[in-house]
């Protein structure tokens, strides 16, 4: 055996002939890897035009804009809706937040987009992207639990409804211009709340 062949054999011995322990999992069409889902989440959260810190309102507009953008790149996006039980008064969803003067907000419902995410074992599950409430993608059950109402009802839909009432009536999205105007109004209200809370903090 020549010295060249010996070197070749030495190199081969550095590598196992056994099948790889963690094969690269193919990502089904329309799904995201965990890394991609985190990247999308971070990308959305950095958008200043979206008022993430206005929890009093706007979830339907935020969900619409995220869903549309994900859809445009081929993601099989859906939406998850969490409804307070009837009657909503006294049974509302309740989320703690530093962005409300009371320290919490109380909702009749909440909505966010969902995306299929494939884990390293190849299992696909739907995760919620909701930068208004969390620091990363979470499961619908985790998302529901954060809203503090065990009797609330979780409903999954495709991305089509802009607004869905508790009885299931759905309403289509307004024009892009109207969507932008809604963000404008909600940023104004967010800034008003911030200014009021600040001036009252400082006396």
């Amino acid at each position: 055996m020549s010295s060249f062949d010996q070197q070749q054999e030495a190199i081969k011995r550095q590598f196992s002939s056994a099948p790889p322990a963690s094969p690269v999992v193919s990502c089904p069409k329309g799904a995201l890897t965990e890394q991609e889902a985190n990247q999308w989440f971070d990308d959305f959260k950095c958008r200043e035009q979206i008022p993430w810190d206005y929890p009093q309102d706007c979830c339907y507009n935020r969900a619409h804009v995220m869903a549309r953008e994900l859809q445009a790149v081929g993601v099989d996006v859906g939406k998850v809706w969490n409804y307070a039980p009837p009657s909503v008064f006294g049974n509302g969803l309740r989320v703690s937040t530093p962005h409300a003067s009371r320290g919490y907000v109380e909702w009749t419902y909440h909505v966010a987009p969902t995306v299929p995410v494939v884990d390293p074992q190849g299992k696909v599950s739907r995760l919620v992207l909701d930068p208004s409430m969390t620091n990363g993608p979470i499961t619908p059950d985790q998302w529901k639990a954060l809203q503090g109402q065990p009797l609330s009802k979780l409903v999954s839909t495709d991305a089509t409804p802009y607004y869905r009432d508790p009885s299931g009536r759905v309403f289509p999205a307004p024009t892009d211009h109207e969507v932008a105007q809604i963000f404008d109004r909600h940023r104004e209200k967010r800034d008003d709340i911030r200014a009021e809370m600040k001036r009252n903090d400082t006396g």
Binding site: R102, E106, Y109, F171, I193
Partner: protein, 174 residues
């Protein structure tokens, strides 16, 4: 005329008035080194002192209302032109209103916005607003076809003005 000054209320303090106006903006004038002037459709003239965070927030609301040709709600002292708080109004329909008064207020949910709002019964507008809100809840009005023009204090979530919406004005959502 003195300009709008910060209130001394606590965080989440309700609007203080004593005057409450819901009108279109007639003119909005900013001048370097001077108070800005806001003239509303009812002829009331309001002054705002620039250079504060509150001013920046209020200016954004005023300019947004002008851009959308919408109504502006002002709480303040009309005689002296002092603004306490301001906000805009939007077309809405009532999903549900509480059947009874609790601690002097009715709870109200609208189609669309997720928060739970309230109407204080010690407010001068409450006797006019309550039947309108109740009527809306049973009228069949919905997210796509609002029947009320409603102003809401974004800080306290108090309903501060309610008017029937002229038909055909429901295109703009909350």
């Amino acid at each position: 005329m003195p300009a709008s000054q910060p209130s001394t209320g606590h965080a989440g303090a309700p609007m203080r008035g004593p005057d409450f106006v819901l009108e279109k903006v007639k003119s909005w004038v900013e001048r370097p080194g001077a108070n800005a002037e806001l003239l509303l459709g009812d002829g009331s003239l309001w002054k705002l002192k620039p250079g504060t965070k509150i001013y920046e927030a209020q200016r954004a609301v005023i300019e947004g209302v002008i851009r959308r040709n919408a109504e502006l709600f002002v709480s303040g002292d009309k005689q002296h032109g002092l603004i306490d708080r301001l906000t805009d109004a939007s077309p809405l329909a009532v999903q549900e209103i509480s059947s009874t008064e609790n601690s002097g207020r009715y709870s109200v949910a609208f189609w669309g916005p997720p928060s739970i709002y309230h109407l204080r019964m010690d407010r001068p507008w409450s006797t006019q607003a309550l039947p309108l809100l109740r009527q809306s809840a049973t009228s069949g009005a919905s997210f796509g076809s609002p029947d009320l023009l409603v102003a809401i204090d974004p800080v306290t979530l108090e309903i501060v003005a309610v008017r029937p919406l002229a038909s055909g004005k429901g295109a703009t959502r909350h």
